[in-house]
């Protein structure tokens, strides 16, 4: 695949309006106005909207997924249940709902690295990872993850061995994929809680690996 550096040519030209941050106070006003209308029309309860925000700001996030991964690493029977029916096995830990209705795990091995994308919009396993980061929804990631995954991974600082092949999961339907990264070495006997600290969000998307012992302690 091509060297992504070669694409830098397209960035030399000055342009003016992509994701202009100065619009954001305008956006606050615009969105407040819209919300008042929805409330006045009786379409939504603003307190219920607060609950949605609170849920995704404080409750549902990548620590959910990290708990699933840590348990998968520690508990062979649980891993088996994840393989059989990930939605149910994840629900055992209390994680379910929106954008997690149909879960499947994909397990990294020394031979195959898995990586998840949604080329068509921004599908992402909310119930285990929370809301997607901006880059996951961005054109560079959505366009190139499928066609040049190794170049994309190198932009995350991840250089896989040449022998490791890459499988990219495009979330074109309502299936949501959770990558189970390889368990770092020298973690035998660790508690699930301690293991979970090694599990980064990116390692569950496939744009990173789980932290090593050394990385985690630094």
């Amino acid at each position: 695949m091509g060297d992504s550096k070669k694409q830098d040519h397209h960035r030399g030209h000055d342009h003016d309006h992509t994701h202009d941050h100065s619009h954001w106070s305008d956006m606050d006003l615009k969105v407040k106005t819209l919300e008042s209308l929805l409330v006045d029309k009786g379409y939504v309860d603003p307190a219920a909207l607060d609950v949605i925000v609170e849920t995704y700001e404080t409750k549902v996030g990548p620590r959910n997924g990290a708990a699933v991964v840590a348990k998968a690493w520690s508990d062979a029977a649980y891993l088996e249940r994840l393989r059989e029916n990930a939605t149910d096995a994840i629900a055992e830990l209390g994680f379910s709902g929106r954008q997690g209705e149909h879960m499947q795990i994909v397990e990294n091995t020394p031979d195959v690295h898995n990586m998840v994308v949604c080329t068509l919009c921004s599908c992402y396993p909310w119930s285990v990872l929370g809301l997607p980061p901006v880059w996951y929804k961005s054109a560079p990631y959505r366009s190139r993850a499928v066609s040049e995954p190794r170049a994309v991974l190198s932009e995350f600082g991840l250089e896989l061995p040449k022998e490791t092949k890459i499988t990219v999961w495009d979330s074109t339907a309502e299936m949501r994929y959770l990558v189970i990264p390889q368990r770092p070495s020298n973690t035998e006997g660790w508690s699930e809680e301690k293991l979970a600290e090694l599990v980064t969000r990116d390692s569950m998307i496939g744009t990173g690996l789980a932290l090593t012992r050394v990385e985690a302690s630094s």
Binding site: D8, G42, V44, R98, S127, P133, S143, V146, D170
Partner: protein, 219 residues
């Protein structure tokens, strides 16, 4: 619709650039945009596929240059305008011109946690047996519908192998037209990267895509 949203395989967008801080929300408006989009879903005036099509059929320059929550907001406004739930003038002035229309459900704050946990599964009871079996070679059809589809352009006409049968799921193409769920068997299909992207792609890599039976033929 072959639109800018169908990004797989494009090469013009430059490198991926993660933020250094990665806040969950960039300003309050993003919080409310998310909450309104999720919250209005309960009103039952559209389904998931209709809302996806509303976003992907926004003007291409808007789709390309705005942030994802701006796209969500624009999609939400469009859906409500189309259904007479809101007027252009109300959006512009913020002043109520006419009362709201009836909606299916207004979720209260108390009910919301359970409503979110319940989600909205799209698997349905099957009427027919699956048309394809694990291990079978299939070709993704070369279709170019004007409406919503979830078959990305980059796999059309390409041959892959069925890896799993994921159940019978709501079919987006008809659901987005409001023509019913017409559940179809959904398959996870492994496409060899070189079959899809040619000899420039790396040998041995695989692209998995979930495809409904209606997108496939035996190969």
């Amino acid at each position: 619709m072959n639109g800018l949203h169908d990004m797989g395989g494009m090469q013009c967008y430059g490198p991926v650039e993660p933020e250094t801080d990665e806040p969950i929300f960039h300003g309050d408006w993003e919080k409310r945009a998310l909450a309104m989009t999720v919250g209005m879903g309960f009103a039952g005036k559209w389904n998931l596929d209709i809302s996806r099509f509303a976003r992907e059929s926004l003007p291409p320059d808007f789709y390309l240059t705005k942030s994802y929550y701006q796209i969500w907001l624009a999609g939400l406004e469009k859906l409500m305008l189309e259904r007479g739930m809101l007027t252009e003038n109300e959006i512009a002035t913020g002043k109520l011109e006419k009362p709201g229309v009836d909606v299916k459900r207004v979720v209260s704050a108390d009910e919301m946690p359970d409503a979110l946990l319940a989600g909205a599964p799209v698997d349905r009871d099957a009427i027919l047996e699956p048309g394809f079996a694990i291990g079978e070679r299939v070709r993704a059809l070369n279709i170019n519908p004007q409406g919503h589809t979830r078959l990305p352009r980059y796999v059309r006409g390409k041959i892959g192998v069925i890896k799993s049968v994921q159940g019978c799921h709501v079919f987006p193409d008809s659901n987005a037209r409001g023509e019913g769920e017409n559940p179809e068997w959904l398959y996870s299909i492994a496409f060899d990267a070189q079959e899809v992207f040619g000899p420039d792609a790396e040998e041995g890599n695989v692209v998995m895509a979930d495809c409904w039976g209606a997108y496939l033929e035996h190969a």
